[in-house]
Symmetry: C2
Subunit: 204 residues, 2 copies
DNA sequence: CTATGTGAACAGCTTCACAGCG
DNA sequence: CGCTGTGAAGCTGTTCACATAG
């Protein structure tokens, strides 16, 4: 989608699977197969019509509608993400924030729409009122599992977890964990540190 | 590593591949295979000795030393990440920050070690002085490709990219892109929105 | 008897290659 | 003739299962 929008902005009206793949570091076949799982959008001999494909994908992915989200954990990272505009740009609005810390409950978070920090007990009602499906979890690692369970019980269907732990929640709740430090560790590992040293070889 | 440390804190002295896998949502065989790529650490009939395995892995992964990092792009997300303590907890210190915007260069970023925002032209020297290998990239999407190339030219070996674009840099520079909104989109897609609607079926 | 390390079997994903359509 | 859609082939990564060690 991002790449298609870039092509559209550049004034391209059609794009081939080869063009798309080239821009994304994928093979042409990969692009066609992936799109093939959702339907048939291409025009043989022509390629994909950019505005048409964008419309179809937006509808399929649900990115044609705004989505309400909540955030739990108004610590450093939580406040950080609240001031980040990238979510809004892609159609997400954080409409409620929560924290377990009594000292933080009631505090106003400034922003375009200022938000009052709520206690976890208010979550079920707030979720219903705003039809919230997904939540961002930015609590300290030791609290993450418990809070995730509370979110699941309150009706959240998807959790974007920033705590460096593996969450286990039952039911139909989807989890995506983003461990920012882990990515840095991987880069540091690959990038010259140790992998290339002669006394610490990977096998094969 | 995270899970091993958790086991250690819990006072466990040995752990089997089954225990480790169970806690991480992996099979026992997967755990053994993965560890097998780095060497033989286990003790048949016993499992893995927790402190021993932690030491070995820390040395192999390079997480036994502190690593200096830089950050480019002192916008919303950049400042956010600078105030996040998760990187420091895992041995990374951001020792320099850069921005292309002349209005931001020279500004002081508060923190444990306050940092003066530098211009991109100072990057090569700063990288040498502090032996910096990895960088965090938090500039707007349209600027990301150009800045990434500048970072590569200045000697950076790994880039943690938060701009929602596919970066292409030559040479031995590793790229890890984290698109925060994309993860939310995926969760929203899986979590009831559209995937379960009858008129938008996935094939198969 | 327990739990590793590892070839062998298997599964899933990627690439190939080509028929068919505009 | 160009480019899609898609079975078939190829490959990578996961799981199985067992010989081996404590």
């Amino acid at each position: 989608m991002r790449q298609l929008e870039a092509f559209q902005t550049a004034g391209r009206n059609t794009v081939s699977s080869r063009d798309l793949g080239g821009a994304l570091g994928l093979s042409d076949a990969q692009v066609r197969k992936d799109l093939g799982y959702f339907g048939q959008f291409g025009h043989p001999g022509v390629g994909y019509r950019v505005p048409e494909l964008i419309d179809q994908l937006r509808r399929i992915l649900g990115t044609d509608k705004k989505t309400n989200a909540l955030l739990v954990g108004v610590g450093n990272l939580g406040r950080a993400l609240l001031s980040y505009r990238g979510f809004a740009k892609r159609g997400f609005e954080v409409v409620a924030v929560f924290d377990n810390d009594a000292a933080k409950v009631g505090v106003e978070i400034p922003g375009v729409h200022p938000l009052r920090v709520q206690s976890l007990s208010e979550m079920p009602g707030t979720i219903q009122r705003h039809d919230i499906r997904v939540g961002i979890l930015t609590v300290p690692a030791p609290a993450a599992q418990g809070v995730a369970e509370a979110m699941a019980a309150a009706g959240i269907r998807g959790i974007l977890n920033f705590a460096p732990v593996t969450l286990r929640v039952g039911g139909a709740v989807h989890i995506a964990t983003v461990d920012l430090a882990e990515h840095l560790e991987q880069l540091a590992f690959q990038s010259g540190g140790v992998a290339s040293e002669p006394d610490l070889p990977l096998r094969e």
